[in-house]
Amino acid sequence: MRLVKKKITIAVLLMMLSSIFLFPLSVFGAEKEDMANGEFIVGMEAAYPPFNWTQSDDSNGAVLIQGSNQYANGYDVAVAKDLAKTLDKKLVIVKTAWDGLLPALTSGKIDAIVAGMSPTDERKEQIDFSNNYYTSNLVMMVRSDGDFASAKSIDDFTGAKITAQLGTFHYTVIPQIPEVQQQQAMQNFSAMRVALESAIIDGYVTERPEGVTAQKANSHFKMVEFSQDGGFQTSEEDTAIAVGVRKGDPNLAAINEYLNNFSVDEQNALMDKEIGFQPMSDDEHQAWYRQIAAIAMENADLFIRGAGMTLFISLIGTIVGTLIGLLIGVFRTIPESENKFLAFIYRIISFLVTAYIEIFRGTPMIVQAMVLYYGTALAFGLNLDRTIAALLIVSINTGAYMSEIVRGGIFSVDIGQFEAAQAIGMTHRQTMIKVVLPQVIRNILPATGNEFVINIKDTSVLSVISVSELFFQGSTVSQQNFMYFQTFAIICVIYFVLTFTITRILRFVETKLDGPDAYVPISNQMQVE
């Protein structure tokens, strides 16, 4: 009996311990991506109204976005809900960047793409598509006070600066405009809206539902519709929108059967309804500083969580990275062994370490994030938690830089320190631990602080794997309120406060560590007392 009790106590203790360990992860919105049966995991941008958008409550039938406290809604969400019901599974919505949708599907992180995606031949090579669940027309978004506001056909855009979203057929039709100045394709609609508003471009090609939304949200925008003859020539394959699934997915038949009964009239009715549900900002006509204040108040919780996540990832990443750097730095000081086998092992590890440093210093972190997150899923079937993936990437990346910094730190410790330790009879290990490393740590402190500040800023690239750090939260909010400058001004200030505070704290620690320049002998100190 006692033994059993003891075991239970230990189990409870272990659970408590592990929950403490996992606590920060759960607080900062880490998620367990369980692909158990009974879940229909759907990927979408949640930033392409009226097909899909993000909102902060569950009104109008919105669905909670996995790993966040925000909700997705829109035409796609309504369709996805019906599909999940048809398949008799629980709907899970994962917010994924447009570029990340295909890899997320093929690597098994999601089960379907319901994201206003057209079934192009290119995409069909990688994934299967269902029957259409919507068909749309191409329109042009322009500034309502601009030269092109009254355009009627694509010929009226002669010589205009036009762009569209990267990887869409919207972009490939642009050359149909005479003498058009086709601009670089852009990552997302937010970027294009900012570019349009700031007159970097004259217009962007989009589909009617998105156009209606943008026009409704921001009075500076106007949607130009074209008649049958005056518009872009498109194939039905492009304007159609379908559900993407993995090749050979057994659920496809059931999905198609459902969609066959989803008439065009029903589609249009649903679209009209969803456009009406779109969250609108009523702050639009206020002064910009009032808008900033309003955005800050409304989204304070989101921004604090985002800042917390950013700090958490960069802090852990910097600490783990510094430990990796110290480990490698110390490894490199080990004198070559006279034992041939050990010397051989040493050389192999040494080669691997060099390869690690060169590769991770020589490639962008954004690319590393993509490769690690989607690559592990494709190659090993490993489904990494996003936050864990983020921590791994930042740690490994920082480790590569820190090992070089530590090398410099060890190098700058006077040779006399090593000799004095040796002369006293210390072994290499004792010398390192007692004498050299404490000085190395002092030497690398400024560089480590620098790395920390860099990490705070660079974690923003992790938004590509949908880690809900500060920049990601900023994008989410701005995609809802269409006020990019106002939102990112807040994000900018938060980043600066974070980095500035940390720089000051580190400076303080340095001065504390160095102590005063002059020393008051003990006897004098006693007199003072």
């Binding site: 006077d414 320190q417 000799e419 004095a420 006293i424 002092r442 002059a518 020393y519 002998p521």
Partner: protein, 245 residues
């Protein structure tokens, strides 16, 4: 007859093409104070550093208490605890205060308890006249003060032999005295010491034997009176004339 503690035979050392030590022979008896003099580049520092193997000799043997320390499997760190070393540039551990500099070797290498190590450290701090600077960081001390702490650090390991590598060369003139005074005190209690130095007056006063090195060999050795007043070798005379002028 005093007992031999250290014996150097056929010791050779080259740095690349440059042969710094050529077939050196040296005996050290317990309680003996030996000064090594000679011009720069004569090999005197290299000899000292070879004795505690901060430089690895190319050939020869170093026999300590009857055992060759260059033989395979000899416990080198343990050997070094028997030889205290005082460096020209002090080499106090920058990350510790004076007291910890003296304690750390005792606790990590000799495995003494912290309390014992501290007691030993305080005694030696008193011996070098630095007891009121126990909590000072090296950066807060003058050169002479640092060197006295370094001597206390070496003494606290209870070495059989103390090696001094030009202990006053990096000091301002007014600080040389305090360090030399400390070494003289040690000579009075018959600490075995080998001192590489340029302080001729000091060498004459403190040494039992003076060794003059020239171009990698021991050119002449003998009691200080012989070396300083009646050198046999022409090059010893030449060196001293140049030096004492």
């Amino acid at each position: 007859m005093s007992e031999k503690i250290l014996e150097v035979n056929h010791l050779k050392k080259s740095f690349g093409e440059n042969e710094v030590l050529k077939d050196i022979h040296l005996n050290v008896n317990i309680g003996e104070v030996i000064s090594i003099i000679g011009s720069s580049g004569s090999g005197k520092s290299t000899l000292l550093r070879s004795i505690n193997l901060l430089e690895k000799p190319d050939g020869g043997e170093i026999i300590f208490k009857g055992k060759n320390v260059l033989s395979k499997g000899y416990n080198l760190p343990k050997y070094r605890t028997h030889l205290g070393m005082v460096f020209q540039s002090f080499n106090l551990f920058n990350n510790m205060n004076a007291l910890d500099n003296i304690i750390v070797g005792q606790t990590t290498v000799l495995k003494r308890s912290h309390a014992d190590a501290k007691k030993e450290a305080n005694e030696n701090l008193k011996k070098v006249g630095m007891e009121s600077f126990a909590n000072a960081k090296p950066s807060q001390l003058s050169g002479g003060q640092k060197q006295r702490i370094a001597i206390a650090r070496a003494l606290s390991m209870n070495p059989d032999v103390l090696l001094f590598d030009e202990p006053t060369s990096a000091l301002d003139p007014e600080m040389v005295g305090e360090v030399l005074k400390t070494i003289k005190e040690l000579a009075k209690v018959h600490m075995t010491m080998i001192i590489v130095t340029h302080e001729m007056e000091f060498a004459r006063e403190v040494s039992d034997r003076v060794i003059f090195m020239d171009q990698g060999v021991i050119a002449e050795q003998g009691p200080p009176e012989q070396i300083f007043e009646n050198p046999k070798e022409a090059r010893t005379r030449e060196f001293l004339q140049r030096f004492l002028k």
